[in-house]
């Protein structure tokens, strides 16, 4: 596919973003299906079979069905997207994703006019995922976006980082990336996308609705009940890394703030 660098999403006042190393990105992960420790996914995710892979696209679409990943990829343009990645736990990275816009995939299936939300589901394979033996979350992991969020050009389905196939611990072979939302919204190893007219349930919201809202937009002014979201620590700074201020919408205010015009972001956290 064509490599397109320099999308508006990458512009930043204080100069170019510096990506974290492949090693950093692939060794420090939250993927609770493989364990709750940050190193568990990189230790255990090799067990996940990612070939063959298909994504079921159903619900309010014109062409519902199982879409084989290779068929999807043959019709998509893979681009480079250098995005900030802000975890709800107040750490952050900069990731050079490779992927395609979710809007293009949804166009393949033909979104019907009544659809208002997209719901996503992670693969659930107890025989390959040691973490799902424990009820840390209500498996399978599910996520959701409002349709306009899903169709925003910043929203991508990632297939790789650094031009290499996505490591399993980062959500191979296909994951959502929504750079202006906390990382848990960017659901990994997606096997189902359902278009619907109702706001879909989301995994962390089901586990703790007080702490994790449906929107979960990065917002330095709305704290997590257990910690401040005003600052973040960039991964890779070592033992004496300084915190830095968190940006509204993770620095993508120009691109996405209009999606939430007139909304109370404190109530819709």
């Amino acid at each position: 596919g064509a490599m397109a660098l320099g999308a508006p999403a990458m512009a930043q006042e204080d100069g170019a973003l510096r990506p974290n190393s492949f090693e950093e990105i692939s060794s420090y992960c939250n993927y609770y299906e493989f364990g709750t420790g940050k190193g568990d996914p990189s230790a255990n995710a090799h067990r996940l079979t990612t070939e063959p892979w298909s994504v079921t696209i159903d619900g309010m679409v014109d062409r519902p069905g199982d879409y084989a990943l290779e068929d999807i990829l043959s019709q998509m343009t893979i681009e480079d997207r250098l995005y900030r990645f802000r975890c709800v736990e107040a750490w952050s990275m900069v990731v050079p994703w490779n992927g395609f816009e979710l809007a293009d995939l949804l166009e393949l299936a033909g979104v019907q006019s009544g659809a208002r939300y997209a719901a996503f589901e992670t693969v659930y394979r107890p025989e390959e995922m040691p973490g799902v033996r424990r009820p840390v979350l209500d498996w399978p992991y599910v996520e959701g976006l409002r349709l306009d969020e899903a169709l925003n050009p910043l929203t991508i389905m990632a297939t790789g980082i650094y031009g290499k196939p996505l490591p399993n611990q980062n959500g191979a072979p296909l994951r959502l990336v929504v750079p202006w939302k906390y990382g848990f919204k960017s659901i990994k190893s997606v096997v189902r996308i359902t278009l619907t007219d109702k706001q879909p349930p989301t995994a962390w919201n089901k586990a703790n609705a007080r702490e994790y809202g449906f929107y979960s937009n990065v917002n330095p002014e709305v704290d997590h009940p257990r910690w401040s979201q005003a600052t973040e620590r960039e991964i890779g700074g070592g033992l004496f890394a300084k915190r830095k201020p968190t940006l509204m919408f993770n620095g993508y205010e120009d691109e996405v703030a209009a999606l939430y015009d007139g909304m109370d972001l404190k109530a819709n956290f």
């Binding site: 940050k38 962390w204 600052t231 991964i235 033992l239």
Partner: protein, 204 residues
């Protein structure tokens, strides 16, 4: 046989050996943090290592009395070392949080009062201060029966420490609940009436 062997060994080991052995992980983990051995986010990792060690030592300290009463193993001479080293690791945990993690002094107080899991953790630390301060032989003599009463605060400290861990994790996780279970179990053993000891205590 095993019990007598353990007791003989315990009598031979000087307490400074225990202090030293329990102190070594502190610089070791710090070194690992400096050199990449704790992964790419060493601050949280170091904070967690110190905190978990503190909790383990609190639990070890709670084991001393039941071990003597129910198994006849006498490790009483090490209990002060275990308790003081628990305080040392709680202090190290707190320092990593203050200096390396939160960094902003203004935010620290806000965190303590606004975030229940931090309030609980701080309460445990504060309750340990009088215990550490009265850990000398002189205090034990001076306080007499009141010393024993005061040092029952350890029970509360261990409960609060385990609760702090339970409250801070995301989702339903087993590990902190195991710690909490151990603390509750060890405290429950103390509620067993002292009428007939299950085994005669070995001379200490």
């Amino acid at each position: 046989m095993l019990v007598d062997g353990l007791n003989r060994a315990a009598r031979r080991v000087p307490t400074w050996v225990v202090y030293l052995a329990l102190a070594l992980p502190a610089p070791w983990f710090f070194w690992l943090g400096l050199t990449g051995g704790l992964g790419v986010e060493p601050i949280k990792a170091l904070e967690h290592e110190y905190g978990e060690l503190a909790l383990k030592l609190l639990i070890a300290g709670l084991c001393v009395t039941p071990l003597r009463r129910f198994a006849g193993v006498n490790l009483l001479k090490f209990r002060r070392a275990i308790g003081l080293m628990a305080f040392f690791y709680v202090s190290a945990h707190l320092l990593v949080w203050l200096v390396l993690d939160v960094q902003l002094l203004g935010q620290i107080w806000a965190d303590i009062v606004k975030r229940p899991y931090i309030t609980v953790g701080m309460a445990a630390f504060v309750l340990m201060i009088p215990l550490a301060a009265t850990s000398t032989n002189r205090s034990i003599r001076a306080l007499g029966a009141r010393w024993r009463k005061l040092h029952r605060l350890t029970y509360m400290v261990a409960l609060l420490g385990a609760l702090h861990f339970v409250m801070l994790v995301k989702g339903f996780q087993l590990e902190p609940l195991v710690y909490m279970g151990l603390v509750i179990g060890l405290l429950a053993l103390r509620a067993i009436p002292k009428g007939r000891p299950l085994r005669q205590p070995v001379t200490s």
